[in-house]
Chain length 473, copies 2
Amino acid sequence: MENFSQWYHNILEEASIIDSRYPIKGMSVWLPKGFKLRKHIIEPLKKLLDKDHEEVLFPLLVPEDELAKEGIHVKGFEDEVYWVTHGGQKELNKKLAIRPTSETAMYPMFSLWVRSHIDLPMKFYQVVNTFRYETKHTRPLIRVREITTFKEAHTVHATKEGADEQVKEAIKIYKEFFDTLAIPYLLSKRPIWDKFPGADYTMAFDTLMPDGKTLQIGTVHNLGQTFAKTFDITYETAESTHDYVYQTCYGLSDRVIASVIGIHGDEKGLRLPPQIAPNQVTIIPIIFKKGGEEVLNKCEEIKSSLESSNIRTSMDNRDIRPGKKFYEWELNGSPIRIELGPRDLENNKAVIVRRDNLEKIEIDLESDYVSKIEEIFQEISENMKNQVWEKMNDSIISTESLNNVNELIKDEKVVSFTWCGDEECGKVIEEITEIDILGTQSEDSDYCKDIDGSKCVHCGKEGKYTALMAKTY
Amino acid sequence: MENFSQWYHNILEEASIIDSRYPIKGMSVWLPKGFKLRKHIIEPLKKLLDKDHEEVLFPLLVPEDELAKEGIHVKGFEDEVYWVTHGGQKELNKKLAIRPTSETAMYPMFSLWVRSHIDLPMKFYQVVNTFRYETKHTRPLIRVREITTFKEAHTVHATKEGADEQVKEAIKIYKEFFDTLAIPYLLSKRPIWDKFPGADYTMAFDTLMPDGKTLQIGTVHNLGQTFAKTFDITYETAESTHDYVYQTCYGLSDRVIASVIGIHGDEKGLRLPPQIAPNQVTIIPIIFKKGGEEVLNKCEEIKSSLESSNIRTSMDNRDIRPGKKFYEWELNGSPIRIELGPRDLENNKAVIVRRDNLEKIEIDLESDYVSKIEEIFQEISENMKNQVWEKMNDSIISTESLNNVNELIKDEKVVSFTWCGDEECGKVIEEITEIDILGTQSEDSDYCKDIDGSKCVHCGKEGKYTALMAKTY
């Protein structure tokens, strides 16, 4: 996309997603249409988590001493935390942090809740706002000071294996969620200098935005026993001994919504996969002076049929030109538009226009058109998914030398390379290329090269990993 | 109730609603069960509002200068606002308030959004957390520092009549909502010294808690043009002139949830109206060694039938004594329990136990028992509603003299009296009785006496209003 940044800014405004004129930098208002989109994106995630997680809600504020307990963790956030120092006119005895994330709010309570091995595992999640005092240039939904849609899950396990298994399980849940959104992803193990502060290791999902930069859209952290030791979360084992628990946490944010908007959108506006579109079908009656009422009635009838099959349907019978309606609904990303005029009615037909590829399909209104539309939903989802995955996969290129990396990256590429895995060497690679290492690939990754005999691109030592690098948001 | 305060504290803990051991006073954690109850209480309200309001989401933080703009308003909140003064290690150039309510966050944006009379009316709502630095004794869900469930609606109108009409409409919506919860209410126009800071007038819903104190559970404010003038919210009229808009706002909080818990609960625990109960039906198989599987199968079958009619059903097949299960589900307030043992199965019967009155009803499993259960839901709702309304109405007593007010109030009463309506006189009445005037009754109120010829209880001047007074939370 020629000027993604400008396009992105415009679409948020034109499709009435958010209003970023709020008088604090990096904080925006969710407008009604944006709020609905947000809701329909959160819903399938909640459904996935509700299977075996419990939803809770923790306070926004964290006492200074709790936040400070886990040294490595607080160091990772100390430049970004907003501090509440006054209540009314009075200075507080103890400063309160606005949560940048909720480990330090939750884990003192976990310490009270966890008693015995039979309580475990525990799996919780919450959807809340969190805050980071960003000093870099902010960008709506991508780099913000109020993250309005932070979905964070926290789990507690009796064994290391339990936590390891949960990391896999969380990855599976996120993959399923991203598939619902038709968002392609790269899964990496973050380099040690880029893991979550306090975690043993971090698995991260990145997607590729149209400007060639990758966007982190989800992370899964294996916390080991670090926080358990800090917050004294112990349990009684079956043998009546006491041990520290093992923990994981995993999160997603507004960035997921940014990726849906950015990756699927085109010059006409949003394109939304049917499962998350607030309006799945939009019916537009084409009305002339004569026979207008019959057309409207038929449109109402179609609307009722679709709604009784739980298809979210709007009918746009405003008194404006159909062309203006087409324009608006394409902008809003409604996956299917149905047009029905007097001649269509005579023939008992209607015209479906797919938003994903603008294809027109005639449907017979005497047939089971509801099932037909459900089929088309499937096709749209598949088509959108294939398109974006293909595009991303085409953008991954392998290199054996650092010399041409900046040239490769210019063409909106993610670069895969062999790495020895040493921290020192990795940091040098990032420094000389000024490009970030996303992380290392596991052997079952699509992006993992056969590294037998390959040498590290920088030091020439024996290659240990296939790693990915990219310009990042 | 003998010791309501103790009972309330216990039930929150025993029914796992919230955990108030969070290390900041007045801020609590919603536990999974409590979170579900909260969700099912919010849902019917959202449904009512979604008919013609749009859901939005505004930032949590408000710049100091916006908060300070409306002088009367800020004065009402200045002792209660939490202030964010630092981002990371740096002091912020401009202090940020954590919203105590969102007028000053929203109205600068409304000023950008409202252009022409054709944009009006606009009706928005959001469900968010808000903060008050309470210095009084806090009490979970009732007097808190983080209000976690603040539903605030804000509307904008072209005319005074539009705003007046919306106040009536909001009252209608809240009445319908409270009816769904089977919560009785007193509707009053708050005395002028107790209205929302910045409003023309405030209509308030109070309910009577078991300890005889009233609890404000909802307010509707007619803001007139005060905020419009402060935040410069104008529109172009049909005649191309410009005028300030008229506004209303109305809100509810966690206190609604407190009232459901407090008013319906009994010595066995929660009692929940079916419409908002997370578990509407709980099936408890009574299993002996022989025939256990058949009983379980039948229970599963009943569960499926109920769920296919969208009845939220749990089956408790834990390996513990039935008595313990009965105890727990009564504590959790599940409206209907179904018990099924081998002998019941033989006779193709089951026993229903109603939580509201503990009545046992035998049902024939060959009949349309799903409809029967839906009927019982209706009866439970009606019964609960009648019970609590009757109790509240029996607690309202009329007096013609202030002398015996404190005596009357001791017996858990709300006192109705004739008042001249003068502010000075009203404040004296509050001072000498140490009891709050809730407000005045409109003529169509159930609690409005015929005041023809009645004299003000304090000054003896001609009576103008029937007013209510009570000890309040």
